[in-house]
Symmetry: C2
Subunit: 220 residues, 2 copies
DNA sequence: ATATCAAGCATTGGATACAATTTACTTCTT
DNA sequence: AAGAAGTAAATTGTATCCAATGCTTGATAT
């Protein structure tokens, strides 16, 4: 139980963001499962605050698509469906191929090396760290495009995608394949080969989509 | 001044959405200009409610990118910049070309006719109605793809784009060109020619981007 | 046995009250 | 006169309180 004692109290406008971050990590990691009710009272008690900042936190999570809000009804953790999964990954292809096209002319070798270093960590990481490191790897490559909206959109999609990755436990199935694809992407970036990078990225994301979609079809 | 008398009071959870809709139309139409401060007290008084639903409304608008929120500081109407404009329109190309590709195999002739009817109205409409009709025209063509996230994302981008359209008053410059492009798009849809529709849409949105970006460069 | 309705309980939405932070203004110093 | 510092006013963030809505349970009728 996290209490709001004077020692660990955050600055005045930071509580909703903190609560949202806490809930978000529980939702993405699967501690809070799809469809679970999120009562304002209980969350408020958990974080040692009143219901007011909790309501704002839930609104933030609803904007990120992690929570479903209905008027006069308890909030619920958003559902995971095969249709939504496909929706997310197709949006990722559209957004991330745009980002890599815009980023490639601006990217430096140092930035590519940073991505390569992250990829090295990914190889020797467990399931929990895979998702975040994988997101970081991609975002390092896109950052040079300097498009705030595009970057924010990709980050939001990565969050939604991570939920599926963690929930479906398909990481091991396509982990090796993903590593190979990351290396191919890095090569294309080094060569500043836009067409190759775009094609590589599209295959990479589509492959993940198909593996996960197949797994979901089995589980249902 | 809109009062919250029993006669026009909305249902219990609807106030934030109503307030957000009111503010949104003022922001998009330009009644509220970029950078303008939005004090919770005043808005609450205007709508005849307390500050609480106003805060939620502002949070909604912040999620849509129409308002900037900073902790302990007054909300402000989001700025209009040339960089953001380009960001938005490039995202539109990525999202809308995906939508038309997914929609084309599903679309019916009746739906295409509905879009054509909207296009006819656009020709004989003033500046204020152009933006909304134009958005509707596009969304009718995309709807058959049946992708909730994609559709919502496009709607949000259309909103952001409308602000620039109305603020920059460049509608008349490219209105005729836009009409021609809409007809070309409709033809491609009738023929179920995916490549033509995508190319047409990309040119259409990019052309609008360039006209508006040029105008902004002049105004600054 | 099942469906329907009512009453009480649980939970959310909104108003009011208070605390913390920022902004504006005044005053003092150089 | 310009700038710094301090103080008061304005404004936001959080807590508490009340009203409205939804949910659950149990009784009743079919």
């Amino acid at each position: 139980m996290i209490l709001n004692t004077p020692s660990n109290r955050r600055k005045r406008g930071a509580q909703p963001a903190d609560i949202a971050a806490g809930l978000q990590s529980d939702i993405v990691s699967g501690t809070l499962t799809a469809g679970q009710v999120l009562q304002q009272d209980r969350i408020a008690a958990q974080f040692g605050v009143s219901r007011m900042p909790v309501r704002e936190a839930l609104a933030l999570l609803a904007a990120r698509g992690l929570v479903d809000l209905t008027a006069n009804r308890s909030a619920r953790v958003a559902a995971l469906t095969r249709e939504d999964l496909i929706d997310i990954f197709d949006l990722r292809v559209a957004a991330e191929t745009l980002a890599i096209r815009l980023a490639l002319p601006q990217i430096t070798n140092a930035q590519i090396d940073r991505a390569a270093a992250l990829q090295a960590q990914i190889k020797a990481s467990d399931v929990a760290r895979f998702a975040t490191l994988n997101s970081q790897f991609h975002q390092v490559l896109y950052a040079p495009c300097a498009r705030p909206r595009l970057i924010a959109h990709i980050a939001q999609l990565a969050l939604a995608a991570d939920r599926y990755l963690r929930a479906i436990h398909a990481v091991f199935d396509y982990g090796d394949k993903s590593n190979l694809e990351h290396h191919a992407l890095l090569s294309a970036c080094h060569a500043r080969d836009e067409a190759a990078a775009v094609a590589c990225l599209e295959r990479h994301i589509t492959a993940a989509r198909d593996v996960l979609a197949d797994r979901m079809a089995q589980q249902d």
